[in-house]
């Protein structure tokens, strides 16, 4: 009797086991694990220096400050204040991100004291003339992509999972991305971006990872190379602070006006 019962039970369990190990599920599991490990920092602040390099190697820099508020069950809220170039000093960019619904974004223009609600359809355009697109710097929610585990690989000294992810949100400039996720930190160490035609467009590498609050890993330097234009951008992060007590109030429209 018991053996007879086992057969239908097994037939129920087996397909489940098989599906749990499809490349798609494994990719999703890795993304969820990475997301969960990076939950609980509440808020973070950092200074960013962006170094833009053109084909000839001429450099120009931009400095800004970024604050992020962790939001449960939705995208994070972020505020970026520009310090240089001097002509855009005091310009502030507020974004309430959402996983699949359009983000809410406002821009504060200090010369006119004007707060403008802006379209968040601009995902693929360059952020501040850099090689980073808006979507590259936006909150990385699990629901934003469809995943597929590809292989394990050693990359730049890191033992990594290589997963493919395909943007599920509108207006992305990418057909797909390949992400190398370190097995210990569960953080990306490299991302390849493929344009809408499927051609390799950019490579992002993460350097000088440090751990904060004994838990959260942050890269101190990111290098983005555009293979199609030979331009590149370095993002250097300074003075990371976590759990400083920021609230929703620090990310409302009133906060934009005194964000300097």
């Amino acid at each position: 009797m018991q053996k007879l019962l086992l057969i239908p039970l097994l037939s129920l369990i087996l397909p489940l086991n098989v599906s749990a190990t499809t490349a798609e599920d494994r990719g999703m599991q890795i993304a969820i694990e990475a997301d969960q490990r990076d939950t609980g920092w509440r808020d973070q602040q950092a200074k960013i220096v962006m170094t833009l390099r053109n084909k000839q190697g001429d450099e120009t820099t931009r400095e800004n400050r970024m604050s992020i508020l962790e939001v449960a069950d939705d995208g994070d809220k972020s505020l970026i204040v520009f310090d240089t170039p001097a002509d855009v000093k005091g310009t502030a960019f507020l974004s309430h991100t959402h996983s699949l619904r359009a983000d809410d974004q406002w821009l504060f223009l200090p010369a006119l004291k004007r707060i403008k609600r802006i379209s968040s359809s601009n995902k693929s355009g360059p952020f501040m003339g850099t090689e980073f697109a808006y979507e590259d710097l936006s909150s990385q929610e699990v629901e934003k992509y469809a995943y597929k585990y590809l292989r394990d690989e050693e990359s730049n000294g890191y033992q990594t999972f290589v997963i493919e992810r395909i943007p599920q949100y509108k207006n992305s400039g990418y057909k797909r991305q390949l992400v190398w996720i370190d097995k210990t930190m569960y953080q990306p160490v490299k991302i390849e971006y493929y344009d809408r035609k499927g051609e390799l467009l950019k490579t992002l590498t993460y350097h000088e990872y440090k751990q904060y609050l004994d838990k959260f890993w942050r890269s101190s330097r990111m290098e983005m190379i555009n293979h199609q234009t030979a331009k590149s951008t370095t993002l250097s992060w300074f003075d990371y602070k976590f759990n400083t007590g920021l609230k929703d109030r620090n990310f409302d429209k009133n906060s934009l006006k005194r964000a300097r």
């Binding site: 170039p85 001097a86 004007r114 601009n122 693929s124 355009g125």
Partner: protein, 395 residues
């Protein structure tokens, strides 16, 4: 006082402030110094006027914030112009203290406030006096003394304003181009209020957003920032009436579309009227993966006073085309035309700017006044097509 003396005193004040602070918190100073040359296409209609004007302007800013939620802000503007008396002057645009708590903010001092959503006119925006001498589109504003309490809840922000100290509108002098056809007698301005400039005005505004919708509803009760110009013995005398103005500004942001509306109802003992600006904007972002954005804008401007309106935009349509290259120099280009729907008279404007190096910005601008009817408010600008170039150093 002679305007140029005023300017000199103003620059001394700035130098003094710089001296006080340069040792401790100099990094919090910023601003720009710019030089501008403006050339007019047609010969000056009057002997007093010129075809070429040049000027320098200075905009210093100071900001300091404490950990306890307090901050102080200072910003000023001064311009010295050759052959243009009215443009040579200085003004404190902002000098205020701000305290920010969880559910409210208190701001005391001279400030600039912007309300509204549309691009071609700013109907709802009423707190500050327009600096008409600086730009005839009215984008520039004079500083306004105020006490402003902002009450912040989940149901939006409600701002209460007490506004002491009225600022008169400035007008271009007779030696300037883009000036009114008749001299303005600002010294004999007439006020409806017996307290004249000392009348204390008040305003309230509630603003919030619901998903894709941003909304603001405001009311102003006080001396109109816009004077009625009354003809008296060969000159125009500004008459400042007491008005009530209720305003609505609404924007809906749907994908790449922006839908914008501003409506006001203004009443005084003389007249009650409505004005509106309704428009939409569509953007093509990252065109063919080049990073270039192209924006198309159109707005319809209406004033229920029609031919009696004190603005040239009583029934006009604006079309605009905006390019942003989003390159390292932030190069931008804007072309716009505002056409009078009744007589086809129009203002065509071009603006372009880009950063040069890290600290300079080069801007060019041109305005053409075409088919201007001699019976309209723009008639005195009909010969004043101009182009200008400006180089600004930002620090």
């Amino acid at each position: 006082m002679n305007p140029s003396n005023e300017t000199i005193h103003f620059f001394y004040l700035i130098l003094l402030l710089l001296g006080i602070t340069s040792t401790s918190i100099a990094a919090e100073w910023s601003g720009n110094l710019s030089t501008e040359v403006r050339g007019f296409k047609n010969n000056a209609p009057s002997d007093q006027q010129e075809d070429l004007y040049s000027s320098i302007a200075f905009k210093p800013e100071f900001f300091h914030q404490w950990e306890n939620g307090q901050s102080i802000t200072f910003s000023a503007f001064g311009r010295a112009s050759d052959n243009n008396e009215s443009r040579t002057r200085a003004d404190i645009r902002e000098l205020y203290w701000n305290y920010s708590a969880d559910a409210w903010e208190l701001r005391l001092g001279i400030r600039k406030i912007f309300w509204g959503v549309t691009e071609s006119v700013h109907l709802v925006d009423i707190i500050n006096q327009t600096d008409l001498v600086e730009g005839f589109y009215g984008e520039e504003k004079l500083g306004q003394p105020m006490l402003n309490f902002a009450w912040i809840t989940d149901l939006g922000t409600t701002d209460f304003f007490i506004l002491p100290g009225f600022r008169e509108r400035n007008f271009s002098s007779q030696d300037a181009r883009l000036r009114p056809a008749l001299p303005i007698n600002s010294n004999n301005a007439v006020y409806e209020s017996s307290r004249e400039k000392q009348r204390i005005d008040a305003a309230v505004r509630w603003s919030h957003y619901f998903g894709d919708w941003d909304i603001g509803i405001s009311h102003f009760y006080g001396t109109s920032r816009e004077p009625r110009l009354v003809f008296e013995s060969g000159r125009l005398v500004p008459n400042y009436d007491i008005i009530n103005q209720t305003g609505l500004d609404l924007q809906s942001t749907l994908g790449s579309w922006l839908w914008k509306t501003e409506i006001i109802r203004r009443s005084s003992n003389i007249k009650t009227y409505y004005a509106s600006a309704i428009g939409l904007e569509y953007s093509f972002f990252d065109l063919n993966s080049t990073g270039v954005d192209i924006g198309l804008v159109t707005e319809w401007l209406y004033d229920s006073r029609e031919q009696q309106a004190t603005t040239p935009f009583d029934n006009d349509t604006m079309f605009g085309l905006r390019f942003a290259l989003n390159d390292a120099q932030s190069a931008e280009f804007l072309a716009a035309i505002i056409i009078d729907n009744n007589n086809k008279g129009n203002i065509f404007s071009l603006e372009a700017s880009r950063r040069v190096g890290e600290q300079f910005k080069l801007s060019i601008e041109a305005n053409l006044f075409q088919n201007i009817d001699t019976n309209t408010l723009l008639a005195s600008f009909a010969n004043d097509d101009y182009a200008q170039i400006e180089l600004a150093y930002y620090f």
